[in-house]
Symmetry: C2
Subunit: 574 residues, 2 copies
C-alpha cells in the first residue's frame, strides 16, 4: 500500500480520487483533477446498515473537495438515482454554490431536490445530455447516452492532455434503435445507448475506463430487455380478478410507463401512491419522458370508484421502507388505500441487499390480510429486469471502448475483482487493472497510470433529512443543528412484542441549559408512551419505532425546552 500522504501531481497529470462507490455500493462520487481544478462525477448517498442505528443517510467525506489549494470546477451527474445525486445538498452546504452539468431529466429531479433544501438558487444547472460537449475548466467533457433504470443516463468522457478518461456511471445494455422514428423516440424519452459513439471513442483511444461493476459476477442471466416486463404485466393483469398493486422504484419511469401501458391494454385505470413516485412521474411527464396512455392515469380517489378488476395501484415501498406507501398499507395505516383479500401485490423491483427482513415483514402483513403477493424471487424476471448490466453487458462495453487501463468502480471488492477478471480475459494486462478503494489517489500521466497514495476519507452520517417521506420540519431542524445540539435516546425492547425491557437512557449534548431535568422527564414519558402504543399494535420494526420515537421525543423536547435538537433514537433488541 502506498503511503498516506500522496505526492503532488505532476503538471498536466490527471488525478482521480474516488470518495465513494469503490469497495462498497452507494454514495458514488469520483474526483477528477488537473492542476488543482476538480471535476466531481456524481455525488450520492447510501443508506445505513442495520448496525448504523439512528442514522438515516451516509454521505461521502467532502474533505478532499474542500482543500484550500483546489477549486471545484463543476459537478457532472450521470443519472438521478439517490446514490448518485443524494449528497448534492450536503456538498453545497460544505462548499457553497456549484455548477452542475447533467441530462435534462436528472436536472429536473435535482432542481426539485435542491428546492426542498432551499438551495436551488445556489446552483447553476446546465443541461448536458447524450451528445453534448462542454469545456469545463481544463476538462473537455462529452456526454454519451447509456441505458439504465431511469431515463437519460450518460457516460462521461473527459479528454485530457494524458488521454481520454471515460466514466460509465450505471448502465445496462439494451438494443439501441439506430434509424427512423424508433431512434427519435428512444432519444426523446431518454432510453438510448449510443453504441456507434462508444465504438468511435474506442477507435479514437481510451486511456482509462472507470466502469460500473454491480452485476459483474452475474454470468448466467439472460440480458432481458425492459420490454419483457410489459408482457409479464399484461398477462398478470389479464389473469387477475381483483385490484393489482405494483410496487417499484420511484424513479423508474420506463417501468411505470410499462405498467400504465399494460393497465391500458387490459382496460384498467391506474393511480400513483407515494410522494417520491408522484413527484418523479410528474417531472417525467412535464419533461416529455413519459406519456401515459389516454385516460389511464387517474387519482387514487377516482380509482377507488372503479370495480377492483379495473384498478392498478403503483406505489413506493418495494424495499420495505417503513414510511413508504406499501409499508403503510400493509400496516393498515395508509389514509387512502386499504389492502383487500383479493388484491394482488407485485414487487416489480429487486430486493436491495440488507432490505430482506423489512420486505419480509411487509409481505407477512399483506398475507395476513389475505392478499396474493408476487415477488422477484417467486416470479423470476417476469416483473423486473435489472438496470445494471451483467458480465455480458460489461464485456460489450469493454469491447466497444477498448481501454488501455481499467478501474472497476461501483461495487464491493468481489464485484470489482469479477469485473477486473472479465477485462483480463479480454486482454487488458494485470498491471493495467486498478483496484481502487475510496480515497486512493490514481495518477494518470504520459508515463503510466498508478496509485500514488491515499487521501484521508471517512464517512459522514446524516440523521433523517433527505428521505422522501419526511417533511420540511426536519429540514428546519437540520439547519439549526449547530445551535440546538442533540438528544440521544437508547431503549431496550423485547424482540417478540416491542415492549420496553428496561429504563431508557437519555443523553443530551450541546443543548442550551445543559441537562434539564424537565426535558429528561418529558422525554422519558414520551418514550414510554410511544413504545407501549407500538407494542400494543405489534409494531417491532426498528425503523418504524425509530421514526415514532424521533417524533415523540422531538415533540417532548420542544414542549419542555423550546429547543429543536437533533434526536437520535437507538433501539437495542433483547
Amino acid at each position: 500500500m502506498p503511503d498516506a500522504e500522496p505526492p503532488a501531481a505532476a503538471p498536466g497529470a490527471v488525478r482521480i480520487v474516488p470518495l465513494g462507490g469503490t469497495g462498497e455500493f452507494g454514495k458514488n462520487m469520483t474526483v477528477v483533477e488537473i492542476d488543482g481544478q476538480m471535476l466531481v462525477i456524481d455525488c450520492g448517498v447510501t443508506f445505513p446498515r442495520h448496525d448504523q442505528m439512528g442514522v438515516d443517510l451516509v454521505i461521502p467525506d467532502f474533505a478532499y473537495v474542500q482543500r484550500p489549494e483546489a477549486t471545484l470546477a463543476a459537478v457532472v451527474l450521470t443519472h438521478p438515482h439517490e446514490d448518485h445525486i443524494g449528497a448534492l445538498p450536503f456538498l453545497m452546504r460544505a462548499v457553497g454554490p456549484i455548477t452542475v452539468y447533467a441530462p435534462r431529466f436528472t436536472l429536473g429531479l435535482v432542481r426539485s431536490k435542491l428546492d426542498e433544501h432551499g438551495l436551488v438558487g445556489d446552483a447553476e444547472l446546465i443541461e448536458a445530455g447524450g451528445g453534448a460537449h462542454h469545456r469545463i475548466g481544463p476538462f473537455e467533457v462529452e456526454f454519451v447516452s447509456l441505458i439504465h433504470s431511469v431515463p437519460d443516463c450518460v457516460a462521461v468522457s473527459i479528454t485530457t492532455p494524458v488521454g481520454r478518461i471515460v466514466h460509465t456511471g450505471d448502465f445496462r445494455y439494451e438494443a439501441a434503435p439506430f434509424r427512423g422514428e424508433e431512434r427519435e423516440e428512444a432519444i426523446r424519452t431518454g432510453r438510448h445507448m449510443d453504441i456507434p459513439r462508444l465504438a468511435q471513442l474506442g477507435e479514437e483511444g481510451v486511456r482509462l475506463l472507470l466502469a460500473d461493476s454491480t452485476n459483474a459476477e452475474v454470468r448466467d442471466a439472460p440480458p432481458k430487455p425492459e420490454s419483457a416486463v410489459l408482457a409479464g404485466m399484461r398477462s398478470l393483469f389479464a389473469s387477475s380478478d381483483g385490484r393489482v398493486i405494483v410496487t417499484t422504484f420511484s424513479s423508474h419511469v420506463h417501468r411505470v410507463e410499462n405498467i400504465l401501458k399494460a393497465a391500458y391494454l387490459d382496460g384498467r385505470s391506474a393511480a400513483l401512491v407515494g410522494r417520491s413516485l408522484v413527484r418523479n412521474v410528474n417531472i417525467a411527464m412535464n419533461l416529455g419522458y413519459l406519456k401515459p396512455p389516454n385516460g389511464t392515469l387517474v387519482s387514487p380517489r377516482e380509482l377507488d370508484q372503479l370495480p377492483p378488476d379495473e384498478q392498478v395501484l403503483i406505489c413506493t415501498g418495494s424495499q420495505g421502507e417503513p414510511l413508504a406507501a406499501l409499508s403503510r398499507m400493509a400496516r393498515g395505516e395508509h389514509p387512502l388505500v386499504e389492502i383487500q383479500p383479493d388484491d394482488t401485490v407485485v414487487y416489480s423491483a429487486r430486493t436491495v441487499p440488507g432490505n430482506e427482513l423489512a420486505i419480509n415483514e411487509t409481505i407477512n402483513r399483506l398475507r395476513r390480510v389475505g392478499a396474493r403477493v408476487i415477488t422477484r424471487e417467486s416470479a423470476g424476471a417476469t416483473f423486473h429486469v435489472s438496470g445494471h448490466g451483467s458480465a455480458w453487458d460489461i464485456e460489450l462495453m469493454l469491447q466497444l471502448l477498448r481501454p488501455e487501463h481499467m478501474a472497476p468502480i461501483h461495487g464491493e471488492l468481489r464485484q470489482q475483482r469479477a469485473h477486473a477478471e472479465l477485462a483480463g480475459e479480454l486482454g487488458i494486462p494485470g498491471g493495467h487493472l486498478h483496484m481502487l478503494e475510496n480515497g486512493d489517489v490514481l495518477d494518470v500521466t504520459t508515463n503510466g497510470v498508478e496509485i500514488v497514495g491515499r487521501a484521508e476519507v471517512g464517512m459522514s452520517y446524516v440523521d433523517r433529512v433527505a428521505s422522501d417521506e419526511v417533511g420540511e420540519e426536519v429540514l428546519r431542524d437540520r439547519r439549526h443543528l449547530a445551535e440546538d445540539g442533540l438528544v440521544l435516546v437508547v431503549v431496550s425492547i423485547s424482540a417478540s412484542n416491542g415492549a420496553l425491557t428496561g429504563e431508557p437512557d437519555i443523553v443530551t449534548r450541546g443543548m442550551s441549559g445543559g441537562e434539564n431535568p424537565e426535558v429528561l422527564a418529558e422525554t422519558r414519558a414520551a418514550v414510554f408512551e410511544t413504545l407501549s402504543e407500538s407494542a400494543g399494535a405489534r409494531v417491532t420494526e426498528f425503523s418504524v419505532l425509530q421514526h415514532r420515537l424521533h417524533d415523540a421525543v422531538a415533540g417532548a423536547v420542544k414542549r419542555a425546552s423550546g429547543q429543536r435538537p437533533i434526536v437520535l433514537p437507538v433501539i437495542v433488541e433483547v
Copy 2:
C-alpha cells in the same frame, strides 16, 4: 408478386439472387451481380427430408450461374460447413474451373474436399481471412472476422457504386479480446469477432445487410460462451468412473479443443473416431488452429490400453447419421469400439430438426447395452452452446452495422420474419425489409432496393456422393451418370421388423440394353437377400436399409450388366 422474367438490371446496379438458404435451412448460396459479373457467396448442400427418399444431398439449382450472358468472377466462402461449401464440387462440374476466396481453415477443408472429388487442380484457392481486402472483378470485397462454431468465419463486405452490401454468413456473438496476447491468440485460432471494424462499417454506411436468421426467434436464451462447455465437460469427466464418449459436429474444432482440455485436466487421454472428424482435426492441427494438450490425443488402439476412467472418445454421429461412428458403435458394428455398460455417452451437439428419430434410435441402442446417455435435452447448455446468435446477437449486429436495408437470410419464413421484426423494432422501416425467397431478384440501385422479378430456380438432388463416409467408388459412379442411367428400387417393408411385405418394384431408365431380364432378376434377388438379413438383425432404419440396398443392387446390376447406373432405393413402410 413480381413477374417471372426479371427485367435487365440498370447499368451499375447490384443484383442479388439467393439460389438457396432463404425460406429454408441449408444449401446457402447467394449471387451478387454487377453488369453481368457474378460473385457467388457460399455454395452449400442440404440434407434431404424423410420424404425425399433415395436422395442423399440437395444442392442449389445452378442455372442462374450458367447463363451465357454472365460470368462467374469468383466464389467467396464465409465458413466451411457443408451447408456453405458442400455444393462446390457440383458447381465446378457445372461451370468448370473457378476461383475461390476463403479464410485459411475453410480453404484447408475445401482443398481436402476437392481433392476427394479429383477437382483440386481446377480451383484457384486464394486465402482471404478477417481483415483481407480483394478486388474481384467489379467487386471491392472485404472480409471481417466473426465467430461461429468452426474456426475462421467471416462476413463479406462488398463495396459497390450503389453502396456497401454486407453478408454475415453464420455468426454468434462472443466477447472479442481487444488487447495483448488474448487478442493475438483469438485471431491465430480463428475465434475472433472484429467488433471495431463492424462498428466502422456502420459508420461508413451499409446500404444492405444480408444476415443469418437461424435463431432469430430465440429471445430468452442467455448468450453462453463456448468456454462454458469446458466447465461442463470438466465436471462430467471428474464425476464419471468409466469411459466417456463425446459426440459432436466434426468441424467444431473449438469444441474438440475444449473436450481435449477437459480430458487433460482430468488426467484422461482422448482419441478421435470418425473419418470426417479425424480429417478436420488433422487439418486444424496442421494449420495451427488446434493444439491438443501435451500427450492427450492418442490413437483409439492406444486409448483402449488405458483404464476406462482415463479414456475419452470423441466421435461423429451426433445426428444419428446411420454410417457415422457412434451409430455403428450403438449397433455393435464398429470395428474399434464396443459400448460398455459403464460408458457415459454425451451429445455435445444440438439435435438438428429432422434427425430426432434417428438420434432416438441410437440412444435406445446405447441404453440397451447399459450406457448412460446425456443429451442436449437432458443437460441444457452444459455440453453444447449454439453457433448461431439469438435475437440478442442479431440485434447487436444490426446496431453495429446500422444498415439502411435488410434482407434476412439463412432461415425459413418464420425465422426470416422474426429477424425482420427485430430490425423493425430498431428502426428499419418496413419498406426497407426485404423478405427473399430462393430465386427472387433484388436490385440495389441509387434509387432504391427492390425485388424486381424472379429467376427460375429449382432443386437438384444428388444420390449419395459427397457424404463423408462413402468412398471413391460412388464418386466414380457419379461421373458416369450420363452414360449409365438409373435403377429405381421400391420396396415395402414391415414397420415392426423390416421384413419385405410384397414384391419389390424395379424400374430402370437410361441403361444401355433397356430392361434386361437378367439385371432385373439379379436385382430382385439382391433385394430379397439384403432385406432378409437386415430383418434378422432387426435393422429397420430407412437410411441403413437404403445404404445396404444401394450397395447390394449396385453390385447385382454391375455383375449382370457391367454397368454402374445410379441406384435409388425407395422404401415404403407399411
